[in-house]
């Protein structure tokens, strides 16, 4: 792709992007959110037409008119949000649109054998092609998507943030598969925020910033810091701030807490002025743990005490007790995307925004302004719908909600998933200053409980870390006693 330009209205999404990928090569495409990666891939897959520039496929000019055309040319996209038909079987999904037929009737035997062949290339020989897709884990569903691309004889495979919802074990499998595919001569364009993955997997990298190519080269020659510097246009010296903090009294305690399914037993003591991390694999019960504390899921046994309160409570009561939560998935749970920043930010605490039980919109907007400025949230005004914002800024709205409600305990579930490095740095800064007590009215230090799958992040910002493994929460140990290896070993139960 050479000199690609694309504009949407006044927004110049792409202004001169050059990328190339050779047969059998894994090319990592990195850049902050909003840098133009997704738009570029939509041009490649025919979902958008470029305004300027040329595309070549095997040296021939290539102008994909629509996604179907691109697919026929052997270009397969696998998006962050999986696009499988959940009620259909594995084989129906793999061969969707290319079902073997005779006179309009489906040849089920051929279908089954073709699907089985595609499954074996992705390492799922043991999976029955008749299994309905909604019975599979996210990791397996993703492999099914790749199997679909393989069944289509794809030559260029685009993976958009494929590991964002996978656990470490599945990530390893995915990597092995990508390497395997590249050895077979398939070109892979790998989009990721995780630079470790880029280092581990890719041959070459290309960095996009503000719709332009700002650098590329052999991955082996580039340091992680150098790539980050290219992405953000400045060097991130200290991504993870952790100033001197002093832990105070216990504000949240769970005692052998168990949920209906998970966790089985989880005991923690969260102190004022500390950042406590929970590591573990996806599906280990970390999200459920936070949900139970916050009253979104029922308690099966054990108890929770928050300050002088103990026992279960619904979210409304938790907010009153000074607890706030940022949920894992901001699109489906965390934010009302169609509503304004002001509506989203003030929803848990609408008192004081008008006389009595009234809520005056202008006061709502006014209440948001300090947070928009301080965090900061990049937007035109507090009345702007949240869906207009970039992922990082959306997440900042979800966090600002807790600040508006002036909570003392923050439960953060994957607060930096899928957002750009710049926003991550701002969120880390914010967490640090909250734990020191700088953002609150009375300057009293907050307690932060953070769940994350991203180990460097936990090691970077937490004071103590506990690990959830198959519903069992380990004892929290000071961060100095952990390293990535030990965390991972504990998470997979080998400790």
């Amino acid at each position: 792709m050479r000199g690609i330009h694309k504009r949407f209205g006044a927004t110049q999404a792409l202004r001169g992007v050059d990328i190339s990928v050779h047969p059998g090569e894994v090319m990592a495409l990195v850049g902050e959110n909003g840098a133009g990666k997704s738009t570029l891939m939509k041009v490649l897959s025919g979902a958008h037409a470029s305004d300027e520039g040329e595309l070549f496929l095997d040296g021939e000019p290539y102008t994909p008119g629509n996604p179907l055309h691109a697919r026929e040319q052997g270009i397969a996209m696998i998006y962050q949000e999986l696009s499988l038909a959940p009620h259909l079987s594995v084989m129906e999904n793999i061969l969707l649109g290319i079902e073997p037929t005779r006179r309009g009737l489906i040849l089920w035997d051929e279908m089954k054998s073709k699907a089985a062949a595609a499954l074996s290339t992705v390492g799922l020989e043991n999976l029955s092609p008749k299994t309905p897709v909604n019975q599979l884990s996210i990791a397996h569903q993703q492999l099914i998507e790749i199997a679909r691309a393989v069944a289509l004889d794809c030559r260029v495979l685009v993976l958009d943030e494929p590991t964002s919802s996978l656990a470490a074990k599945d990530i390893e499998k995915l990597f092995a598969l990508v390497r395997d595919l590249s050895e077979k001569g398939i070109s892979v364009i790998y989009i990721s925020h995780f630079l470790e993955e880029v280092q581990a997997l890719s041959h070459r990298y290309t960095v996009l910033r503000d719709g332009e190519t700002v650098g590329d080269g052999q991955t082996a020659d580039a340091s992680e810091e150098a790539i980050i510097a290219l992405m953000v246009g400045r060097s991130v010296d200290d991504l993870y701030p952790r100033s001197q903090r002093t832990a105070g009294s216990v504000v949240l305690e769970t005692n052998r807490l168990a949920g209906i399914d998970k966790p089985n037993t989880a005991s923690i003591q969260l102190r004022k002025g500390e950042v406590l991390g929970i590591a573990g694999l996806v599906g280990a019960g970390r999200t459920e743990f936070l949900d139970i504390i916050f009253g979104l899921e029922p308690i099966a046994s054990g108890d929770i005490s928050i300050g002088s309160y103990s026992g279960s409570a619904l979210p409304a009561l938790r907010w009153q007790q000074g607890v706030g939560m940022v949920s894992e998935d901001r699109k489906t749970q965390g934010l009302a995307l169609g509503l304004s920043i002001a509506d989203n930010l003030t929803l848990p605490k609408l008192d004081g925004l008008g006389p009595g039980r009234l809520v005056i919109p202008s006061q709502q907007a006014k209440a948001c302004e300090p947070w928009i400025e301080r965090i900061p949230i990049k937007c035109q005004s507090a009345r702007q719908p949240v869906c207009d914002l970039s992922g990082g800024n959306q997440q900042k709205v979800a966090i600002a909600r807790l600040l508006h409600a002036d909570v003392d305990i923050l439960l953060l579930d994957e607060p930096t998933r899928g957002i750009d490095v710049g926003s991550k740095a701002q969120i880390y800064q914010l967490i640090d200053s909250l734990a020191r007590g700088e953002e609150s009215e009375g300057r009293s230090p907050k307690a932060v409980l953070i769940v994350s799958s991203y180990l460097p992040e936990l090691l970077g910002i937490c004071d103590r870390i506990a690990v959830m493994c198959r519903g069992q929460l380990s004892k929290a140990k000071p961060v100095e006693d952990w390293d990535e290896h030990q965390l991972m070993a504990t998470a997979i139960g080998q400790e």
Binding site: P315, R318, T332, L335, A336, G338, L347, P348, R357, V359
Partner: protein, 348 residues
């Protein structure tokens, strides 16, 4: 600022949303004003008729706006209107023992208070069935479409049962039967400028707009519709909000029922208001609400109700056969939603 950007800015403004709908209303009106012969369409009398006719739809549509903003739907509004109509007529027919031991009509004894009692009973019954709709949706977690599809039949049956499947004729004309009397041709009532029912509607519009915009409950309605999970996370009482919204629809349907009772000549007709749910839903959708929730406004709904009524009455006065009218209204509904879609995709 480029031209395209300017338009994008413009389109995101709330007043532009409403303004565009007013424009559509004016275009539809002008169309009939020009093509209906002899300028009959824009006589004061006809305008009054349009307002009278649209009041029933508009009043019921107020409640429906709340429901649709929460991403719900209520198919039972036509039936609730009929229930209210029947309850009013039934109450006006209550007989009691008179002074001489013979049966007399309550309404003859208390000509003012009995219609009032009729209204209160109708409001209570309508709000109660609305509340039950809500309770079934919240407690049994059945989708609103199914619950209200069922209750549409149940409530209609109830109305017919109360009326013993006949029209109920009250023994006496009362003020409630005169709610929608025209004020232009009636010297005695011309001081009111508009029929009493229309004034009721205007007050309701003001109250509903205020609730939606300036109260905590109003904010909760939008939040529940835009993203129920988020609302729950933020401590919004999701179940209670839905319950109230359906009860509110019942309440507004009772008011619409009084207007309907008067409009059809003060008769308790259990078969009245059939298909009204479709007109009411259409008014809300044309008014800019989204079936996926989180969007909609009272003012938009009122414009939507006027558009529907003008199409309906204009079509009649143009001498279009009924089948043409039905097709035109159906087409307009699809067109309105299609235009909205287009606007949204341009915005994104």
């Amino acid at each position: 600022m480029s031209k395209a950007h300017f338009f994008k800015e413009l389109k995101s403004k709330a007043w532009f949303n409403i303004g565009a709908r007013f424009l559509a209303l004016i275009i539809v009106f002008l169309f009939f004003a020009i093509f209906v012969e002899d300028g009959k369409f824009y006589t004061l009398r006809n305008l009054e008729n349009i307002v009278r006719q649209s009041s029933v739809y508009a009043t019921a549509a107020l409640g429906m706006t709340f429901v649709i903003i929460t991403a719900g739907i209520d198919l039972s509004v036509g039936s609730i209107i009929a229930l209210a109509v029947v309850v009013v007529a039934w109450t006006l027919n209550i007989q009691i023992d008179g002074a001489n031991g013979e049966l007399v009509y309550l309404v003859h004894q208390y000509p003012f208070a009995t219609p009032l009692l009729a209204c209160l009973l109708a409001i209570a019954a309508s709000s109660l069935v609305g509340l039950l709709n809500g309770a079934l949706i919240v407690r049994l977690k059945i989708v609103p479409f199914i619950v209200t599809l069922g209750s549409m039949g149940i409530i209609r049956g109830l109305a017919k049962g109360i009326a013993s499947e006949r029209d109920i004729y009250p023994p006496e004309e009362t003020w409630i039967g005169g709610l929608m009397d025209p004020t232009l041709t009636n010297k005695a009532k011309s001081w009111m400028l508009l029929p009493a029912g229309v004034w009721i509607l205007i007050v309701c519009i003001a109250i509903a707009s205020f609730i939606l915009k300036y109260t905590r409950f109003g904010r909760h309605v939008y939040a529940v519709g835009s993203n129920e999970e988020t609302a729950r996370l933020c401590g919004v009482p999701v179940g209670r909000t839905k319950l109230i919204v359906y009860a509110l629809t019942g309440f507004f349907c009772a008011l619409a029922g009084f207007m309907q009772f008067s409009y059809i000549g003060g008769v308790g007709q259990p078969t009245t208001g059939i298909m009204y749910e479709l007109f009411v839903i259409a008014a809300v959708i044309i008014g800019g609400a989204s079936f996926s929730g989180g969007e909609g406004s009272i003012l938009g709904t009122i414009v939507g109700a006027l558009i529907i009524t003008i199409l309906y009455m204009g079509g009649q006065q143009m001498g279009w056969p009924k089948w043409v009218q039905e097709m035109v209204i159906g087409g307009i509904i699809i067109l309105a939603v299609a235009v909205d879609r287009l606007r949204h995709s341009k915005l994104a």
